[in-house]
Symmetry: D2
Subunit: 153 residues, 4 copies
């Protein structure tokens, strides 16, 4: 996420979830620690996977994580503080043959200020078969339905 | 850190520190959680700041953090597992007027395999004065001494 | 908290707050990690201190923590899992001259099952004066008001 | 661990391991967070289980955790700070029919001051069979060998 890339806007996202800042999320500077933003992204990923619906059995924790994280990045826009309620927005921005990319926007619920923005790339992976796989059509269709758009390869 | 950028090599780094994987660093998949890589980067930043020497009093925790983190990214190269001993390498790759950039390489101590690579941008910030500042010459010189090279603006 | 001590009941508590299990709260066994229960206790302590009202200025993070934790313990009653919504109950059970004791009960919101129970002892401490202090009357009265009872020394 | 119980001494322990305080272990008060002491206990448990030797195959993460944690407690003796190197001592103090108890002592490596002391109770549990089991003789013998003493039921 380059500095000159424009920050996405809240209305660009179909999915979001809320998270409350815990005392343990702060570091010695009194702000939410930089690594915790990635935990917030992860909370959104978990929620997004659950929201995708039944592309698989998902009777198992491992079915909620049909991917290996390839890379992730965050740009910090403002400090988040104790007890603040945050909204973590997530959208799919690219679906390739084996990998797909998410974009994240964290905003503060009280004043809507942007707190952080990020991107991640996932490779489709079956924990059962223990190997990467081409993205199944069923998975792509679940994303396209949630995002209400189609994705070119 | 784009996928096609070359991974830096261990010998490119003057500074490194070791970290041991804790059980709590693992997530439900049994590997070191993605957010924890950023905690490893942070451990290296702390050690690097201490290694820089006396650009300031550093009698205080806040003097060890003369920056605000602007952005950080990680590319995952292999999974790290319980009790593994990792080496986190850090080098400065750019010093600007107000910001400077670090590059990270995590390797496994036992087999030297690359585990993760990353970058971060810091803005020089005085917690005492509570504002960003141009990078002081003393700070730049400490980095140049440690890195045994000069940096163009 | 001895094994044969009776587990407190939800109706014994005037204060509670909710917390949602994050993926990062799980450990490699797939359950909420044992140390995270103490983070849940801490979330309740923070909320309880905020609920106590203006025994001090509380314009500052340090005013929310007028104590040093002396000891804390937890007995685990059932495993908590991903995305589960928990309720953390907290009550004061003793106020001494310099220290006071909290009791905790964590229940699952969906099925009300007890998840964990605990106790902690705090010593009254002023971060401003950097020393322990006798518990101020104003602090005691705030607790007595919230708990709707009086405490013998 | 009652306040009037005597603090165990370093020489009472056959097993110990070292841990380094990370920046992320600190909380907004600038000290190691209370919940992190339990992560330190856990690091020692992991090391202790590995040190016990081959009571089972231990080819698997789950074999390293033949227990469910029943309860754990910590008494805080002094604050631990950034980059401090700590020693976590662990010993078995009781082996029952189905449960066994550990005692912990954390000291600072530089000045040997006691930092925390704790206890935990574990129930023997097979993750493979998914049930609690009587403590196998092989497990008891591994502990007795490491501790160089026998335990009455």
């Amino acid at each position: 996420m380059k500095k000159n890339e424009s920050t996405p806007a809240v209305q660009d996202f179909k999915f979001s979830c809320e998270v409350e800042v815990r005392f343990r999320d702060l570091d010695a500077m009194g702000h939410v620690n930089n690594a915790v933003y990635f935990t917030f992204f992860e909370i959104a990923r978990t929620g997004y996977m659950q929201a995708l619906g039944h592309y698989s059995d998902k009777d198992d924790l491992f079915d909620l994580y049909p991917f290996i994280l390839l890379d992730v990045q965050c740009r910090y826009l403002s400090a988040a503080v104790l007890s603040e309620r945050l909204v973590v927005h997530l959208r799919t921005v690219r679906i390739g043959n084996k990998s797909y990319q998410f974009e994240y926007l964290i905003t503060a619920k009280a004043d809507n200020r942007p707190v952080g923005v990020g991107r991640s790339t996932q490779v489709y992976y079956s924990y059962q078969q223990q190997k990467t796989l081409p993205i199944p059509d069923a998975f792509r269709q679940c994303i396209e339905k949630l995002e209400a758009r189609s994705f070119d390869l």
